[in-house]
Symmetry: C2
Subunit: 340 residues, 2 copies
């Protein structure tokens, strides 16, 4: 038995997951990105690097900047500009996280107390504004207008998605289409921009910009769908997150939308009570998960994610084979597998 376990461990060592492989491919550049992030969140106003450092150091996966780096590298880019642009992408992402946590009244972010809890909502709003402005300063220093166009448009679309989410929050009658528009805005638009920027900085033809934009958009949709499924899945707890956050906040995500659509009137009353009126007791989360299992809505949410994942993979079809292309392709599966 000991031998088998060792072999398993050996195999795990030999086969790092797709995200790890992708990160390894851009490792040096990623270190540059981390350095640029630290340098550029500096301000004589001490609270800014303190608060920004807390959320940035909390160690997200850096998925979005890694996508920028890998996309540029797949496009044959050999310069250094992509590191600054990847840092911009992470700054925009971090700014939206700070504002999200205020809007959602969240108390935890990646298992640690969120910035709004530690420093208050006011500081979170203002430091978010600072990071967002600093992202634009970094982009302007790079000086590519197409990059500025892509990232400023993405920022506006993110804000639109967030407002749309706010308007549909607690509304159990939200349609799957409306939900898709929300997640395309709040999540997928930045994935798309992060990837497209890689092709722009490498000065590749327009069809490659579009291909990478489509890859990022569909990967982002899949990513958010899986995130929303995981919020009701025991697997979530293995990732160091709590289960049921969306439920407690009354967020209307696809697992809920499908359960509502497929449920009978008494089930719909349950969703209206718990999510619209937010009258919840301890047993309700368990009941919600049971209804989702009865109607197969978690499984089907993963299925929907697989559909967008397939589009993402195919979008890469125009690029010749390379280690980067293989890793970007495999990352799609990795993102979706989190949901199993």
């Amino acid at each position: 038995m000991a031998v088998i376990i060792n072999l398993d461990q050996e195999r795990e060592k030999e086969q790092p997951d797709a995200l790890t492989r992708l990160c390894d491919l851009v490792q040096d550049d990623l270190e540059n990105v981390n350095r640029l992030i630290i340098e550029n969140m500096h301000s004589p106003v001490e609270l800014i690097p303190q608060l920004a450092g807390h959320i940035i150091a909390a160690g997200g996966k850096r998925l979005r900047p890694v996508l920028t780096l890998a996309a540029a590298q797949m496009c044959g880019y050999h310069g250094q500009r992509h590191a600054a642009l990847a840092a911009c992408v992470e700054f925009i992402h971090t700014a939206t996280l700070l504002h999200d946590d205020v809007v959602d009244e969240s108390t935890l972010r990646r298992g640690e107390a969120s910035a709004n809890v530690l420093w208050g909502n006011k500081a979170s709003v203002l430091v978010g504004d600072f990071l967002f402005s600093r992202a634009f300063q970094l982009m302007v220093a790079d000086g590519n207008l197409r990059v500025l166009e892509i990232l400023s448009a993405a920022s506006a679309i993110i804000a639109e998605g967030e407002v749309l989410q706010l308007m549909t929050s607690n509304d159990t009658a939200t349609s799957e289409q409306a939900y898709l528009e929300v997640i395309m805005g709040k999540t997928a638009a930045l994935f798309a921009a992060a990837c497209e920027v890689g092709a722009v900085v490498a000065d590749r033809p327009k069809k490659e910009h579009e291909a990478l934009g489509s890859y990022g958009m569909n990967l982002g949709i899949a990513f958010q769908l899986i995130d929303d499924a995981l919020d009701y899945s025991a697997k979530q707890e293995n990732l160091g997150k709590t289960i049921g956050d969306d439920f407690r906040e009354g967020k209307i995500t696809l697992p809920v939308i499908l359960a509502f659509l497929r449920g009978d009137e008494s089930e719909r009353d349950f969703w209206r009570r718990t999510l619209e009126r937010q009258e919840q007791d301890d047993a309700d989360l368990r009941q919600a998960i049971q209804l989702m299992e009865r109607h197969g809505t978690l499984k089907d949410t993963v299925q929907r994610a697989a559909h967008y994942g397939a589009i993402a993979r195919d979008a890469l079809g125009i690029f010749p084979d390379s280690a980067e292309k293989r890793a970007l392709t495999d990352v799609v599966e990795f993102v979706i597998r989190r949901g199993h």
Copy 2:
């Protein structure tokens, strides 16, 4: 007597105030700016134009965009690009107002219920983010990297100023220097950028950029000093605003800083109780104003404003005489006179 009154009315008609004269000089362009503002706050997410329209229509003075238009016109600019850039400046300003009202927990803005009261803090944060992103999209569409540099730097400085203000709020030991840094960030940086952009768009030499930047920075400092004095002045009520908002919020502005520095220990206890611990009763605002009058701190705040105003006026010295230069010069006096 009737004759005298008529003559007074007649004289008022004949001598519009300096801001009105400045607006008249750029009237057509200002109409373009207003049109661009309406067009660009559009979004399929209805709440965005609703909320943005509320604060934008509430009819600020459009002072910042007028400065951009007038500065460009003084620099001999005859194109149309300055209107879009002036709209950007107003969008950035509006975004910061939305976030300010959330941070300050304000309930009124220009005499009307503020957006955060009508639509909630969450919507105000997110629509602010949208307007800010949209401002950058407009700038990027213009395509001048120097303009982008100026306005993205100003945005970062505004956020720094706001965070600094948050850190010094309720601290009666705030120094005049720290207060100056706050208002240079939160207010004057955008005045400076608005003016400098006028010279950039007109493609004038660097010393004219700097001159207009200095004019705007010092005008902005004067503007904020007067605002802070007016918050304790009966004249404020003539302007349709309530008196004592800063006092109730525990904001540490120059009239307070000077009163604290010049006061005896029992007076300092009064400031600590009312502004640091925010234990206030109905008679306290009256008492605060009496202390300010005793130490001449409102008068001296206006005096400080006059100093920065003088620097602003002299900064225009390198420009040849023109109707725009005269109006920009006279606007300084107009801004300061509000405080008398």
